[in-house]
């Protein structure tokens, strides 16, 4: 006999299923804002005493001068750290990390990198991350943790001396902080390009489905 109700099976099969839950979307965009504020103010701070033979163009810095850049950096850090911590806790507690980011196997990564380079990597099911995505997302979370720890160490090298000691010394922590920023910028470029190439993934990060 035909049923008169919609079963779970059927609901799951319809296109309205949630790909990105609300907490992921909210935290993702707060993180995006915080990261951009941190990067642009960080470039302002970098320019005051460059580590390398270049400075960032003034138009791409925040704060107007070193003092302003520092105010932005040490304000946006709260947004970044509180949101980031909430994301890590929720990600582990809900099992999302375990489910979406793992396992990451070398053969899986190799296979998907090859598929991506030959434009054969499918995005039919956005709920399942391919191995390249898993590696990049897990990797960027680690970089995020590293940039916060080096940043905290540089902010309080005496009170949090063990953080600085963990990275060697103060100047080393500063270099690691810089390279983490560079890695995040590189990720950002690839991430945005791919989101634009697969617009339904951007849509899912905004409306969830």
């Amino acid at each position: 006999m035909a049923s008169l109700t919609v079963t779970d099976e059927q609901v799951r099969g319809n296109p309205a299923k949630v790909i990105q839950p609300a907490w992921v979307r909210v935290m993702h965009w707060i993180n995006a804002l915080a990261m951009i504020l941190m990067i642009l103010s960080g470039w302002q701070i970098y320019n005051a005493s460059p580590l390398f033979a270049f400075t960032f163009p003034r138009e791409y810095t925040l704060g107007g001068w070193l003092g302003g850049g520092l105010l932005w950096h040490f304000a946006a850090m709260w947004l970044l750290m509180i949101n980031g911590l909430a994301y890590l806790v929720t990600g582990f507690a809900t099992g999302r990390f375990a489910k979406k980011l793992f396992p990451i196997t070398p053969s899986g990564v190799l296979h998907d990198v090859r598929a991506a380079l030959t434009f054969k990597l499918g995005h039919d099911d956005l709920t399942v991350y391919n191995y390249v995505q898993r590696l990049l997302y897990a990797g960027i979370i680690l970089v995020g943790v590293l940039i916060v720890l080096t940043g905290l160490g540089m902010w309080k090298p005496v009170q949090l001396y063990y953080l600085v000691a963990l990275f060697g010394d103060y100047p080393t922590a500063r270099y690691i902080h810089f390279f983490c920023m560079a890695a995040i910028c590189a990720f950002l470029v690839v991430h945005v390009v791919l989101a634009l190439l697969v617009p339904k993934s951007l849509r899912a990060m905004i409306i969830g489905r």
């Binding site: 951009i36 107007g64 105010l71 932005w72 304000a75 090298p157 905004i206």
Partner: protein, 260 residues
Amino acid sequence: MAKRSFLIPGVDKRLLIKDSIKTMPDVTRRRFIAGGASLGALTLLTGCDVVDSSSAEEMLKQVSKFNDAVQAFIFNPDALAPTFPESAITKPFPFNAYYDLDDAPDVLAADWKLEVRGLVDNKKSWTLDELYKLPQVTQITRHICVEGWSAIGSWTGTPLRDFLKLIGADTRAKYVWFQCADKEGYNSPLDMRSALHPQTQMTFKYAGEILPRAYGFPMKIRVPTKLGFKNPKYVVSMEVTNDYKGGYWEDQGYNSFSGS
């Protein structure tokens, strides 16, 4: 023929669901636009214009005050700045100021006196010879500049807390406020707990030699638990006070606590 199930006889269930979803996307669509709007807001917020707006500046000032409180809270008066062997000293140790070395104060030792004011029992001024007679210690620590660079140096002098005890300072007061001979009048407030930190020093020597003009002759306040700009050079007076009197860089926006 494949078996099909019907919610309403004669109506394809899948098509029905599809149709009913079409009536919903209104909300979904609006949410999409709202998402787009927040993207726009993001661009707006990161634009440089917002820095000029007074509301953003006011917000940043408030957060900086909050950061002062956080730093005071996590400040451990017993946590010592790392010390280094002589081999780690940065050579040459950089001269750093908002003016060229040629414009640095050229203090005549014979004319100079350290003036002591505020909440202290003994307000007598101190000559350099008198100060040199106080017990001195040497420490090799890292000077960290607000700009990000750092350098290791060797400083010798009298722990500030010993001097404060000697002059009968009210150590329950909030600040020790330093004034300097720099052009434009450099000054900086130091919170009492940092002033009483065992490594905070009235410095008279650099690398075992009388403090050269470049590093703040005749007296510098070395505070290894603070950023460099909170380590005043060419000091001419100190005032123990409960009032926040501001500072040369603090007034321009550098975080006032700026602890390490």
